[in-house]
Amino acid sequence: MQSSFGVLDQIIRSFAIVKKDMKIYYSKGQVILMGVLWPGFMFLSFAFGRQMPVETLMPGLIAVSIFFTCSAISPIVFPIESQARTLERLVSCPVSVWTILLGDMLASALTGLIISLIPILLSLVVGVTFVHPWVMLAGVLLSSLCFSAMALIFSFPATSSPAPIQMLSTLVKFPLMFISGIFIPLSQLPSAAKALSLISPLTYFTDLARYAVGGTSYYPALINLLVIIGFTVVFWIVAVSLHNRTLPTRV
């Protein structure tokens, strides 16, 4: 038995939760549906007819796909596990609340990474070239974590029913999609919408993805990356704080 009980020890223990989540929640067809098909069709329904070049269109599709994949399942893991009493099992094990959240977040981010390959490969098929592939890679990695951390916040209310959580999640996610420069580039957004777009983490990844594809972006790539990191940290702190408060009332 390991004797260490530090942060690294807890991070290692969180990998057990990652594996569990991947087996139970993310290996199902529902993830493909929620992460690729549904946002894909919805995206295309908005994008077609706007005569957007593929260099503008495909980064938007990649962004929507990662955003929806990372925020689709993790918000409902807590209510499901609360209902099934498996959350009680986890809490009684030698793990902190943040360890459980980290596991859920990493599983969600990992799924986002895997699913993002589909629109990226599709982009290559339709002739898109990534002029800054490493920027795209860094963006996908960081935004997967960022969107997953954001999704954790949705699940903080102490309910054992996934329905209200899904509703809350949808209420936040949909408006974000429309203010993040996905369908209309940031430079063409009216000033009010542009101001609103600042509060959406999706804005910065979309902009970063356009830089990775076309070489140009509204904000400098480094700023986009730093803002995504900043959002991730803030989401993480808020999620841990809220769950620390509500977890004892849900087990």
């Binding site: 038995m1 807890q10 087996k23 009493r85 099992r89």
Partner: protein, 384 residues
């Protein structure tokens, strides 16, 4: 608090839910390697106490230490295993998957954990189904799997919340044998149960909690005698005897006939099988062990005024506090309750001599833990 060979040290532990004080300044200590029972009626605060000791919920005040570490801390959890009353295994994982999840959460070395998992699955009769999803398991199998998950990490302290409730007789026996083995291995076992026979048989000491407060804490034998007070004397004669005469013998507090004894024994057997105290199960609340009540509730034929029944309602008027006993029909076998066994046995001998009777059975049984439990929890309920 300092750990001085105690596996558990609890001082003034309190938990409040809104206006309800679920656990009210509870204090006790459990020695390392001790089999400790934590008994109480439904809603008394047993599970809430366990959940605080295992870090599942937070206390409002007081102190709780597990193996020298604050209850709920990572170190305390590493040394503990928790088996809740209801299965909390992942239904969408196999038994093996659940065990390997526990292995990783406790950071057990893979080889050691896998060997132990195989051994436990074999012992608990689940090895052949280890690759089946838990959702396909029966309730008993799930319970056994949860026990496997609980002891896989070789914890020093085991918290078992009604581990045998809802299990069939074979599983109950098996579970008890396994718990005895764990005790022999030196594990500290903190057990909650509604089954008084189980507690009396397994536990070295028991605490009885009622309305969130500990009302008694001692060995089952001592608790039975000091709190139960009333002894049971089973007697059988070779000829018919007058119930009234028998009830009026010096030393008899109360009397039961053969039918009531059978009903009472049947109740005990059902309790042992089904796990008492649950909705749909037998008993559960104070008063369930009152034999004169069981005649009415189980036999169904001794209700006052029921047709076709020979009934006799007697007042054991000679002894202060003697209770009215309902009778279905005369028989030669009786159970007498007394707080003075010497006086009663002498009375029975004199009675037999005077009526030229032979006693086929004369069996004196000390008061049971169940008697003590009912008395203690009833007293406190009435006092409240």
């Amino acid at each position: 608090m300092k750990n001085q060979g105690f596996a558990l040290e609890v001082k003034d532990l309190t938990k409040v839910f809104g206006q309800l004080v679920a656990v009210d300044h509870v204090s006790f200590q459990v020695n390392q390697g001790e089999f400790f029972g934590f008994l109480g009626p439904n809603g008394a605060g047993k599970t809430t106490t366990i959940r605080m000791l295992t870090g599942i919920i937070r206390k409002n005040s007081g102190e709780a230490v597990v193996m020298g570490y604050p209850a709920g801390s990572i170190r305390a959890k590493q040394l503990s295993g928790v088996m809740p009353e209801l299965s909390n295994a992942y239904l969408d994982l196999t038994a093996w998957g659940n065990l390997m999840l526990v292995r990783e959460l406790y950071r057990m070395p893979a080889n050691q954990a896998k060997e132990r998992a195989v051994s436990l699955l074999q012992q608990l009769g689940l090895h052949e189904r280890k690759d089946s999803l838990v959702s396909t398991y029966s309730m008993g199998m799930r319970k056994r799997l949860v026990l496997c998950m609980t002891i896989l990490s070789n914890p020093q302290v085991l918290f078992l919340d009604e581990p045998t409730s809802g299990l069939d007789v074979q599983s109950v026996r098996f579970m008890r044998a396994l718990l005895r083995n764990l005790k022999q291995e030196g594990k500290t076992i903190f057990l909650t149960t509604h089954n008084m026979d189980e507690a009396a048989e397994m536990c070295e000491r028991v605490a009885i909690i009622n309305h969130g407060k500990i009302v008694a804490l001692d060995s089952p034998d001592k608790l039975s005698i000091t709190a139960g007070r009333v002894y049971l004397v089973d007697v059988s004669f070779d000829k018919s005897v007058s119930l009234e005469t028998l009830a009026n013998l010096p030393g008899v507090n109360r009397l039961e006939t053969a039918q009531a004894i059978e009903a009472s024994d049947r109740l005990r057997a059902q309790q042992a099988m089904a796990g008492a105290g649950k909705p749909g199960g037998m008993g559960g609340g104070p008063g369930r062990t009152q034999p004169q009540m069981t005649v009415g509730s189980l036999a169904g034929t001794a209700q006052p005024g029921s047709p076709g029944e020979q009934r006799l309602v007697m007042a054991a008027g000679k002894i202060p506090g003697a209770e009215i006993v309902e009778e279905k029909k005369s028989d030669n076998r009786f159970r007498l309750y007394t707080d003075n066994t010497t006086l009663l046995v002498c009375s029975l001998v004199d009675f037999s001599r005077a009526h030229s009777l032979q006693m086929n059975i004369l069996n004196v049984r000390p008061p049971s833990l169940e008697d003590a439990f009912v008395r203690l929890t009833e007293e406190k309920s009435h006092a409240k």
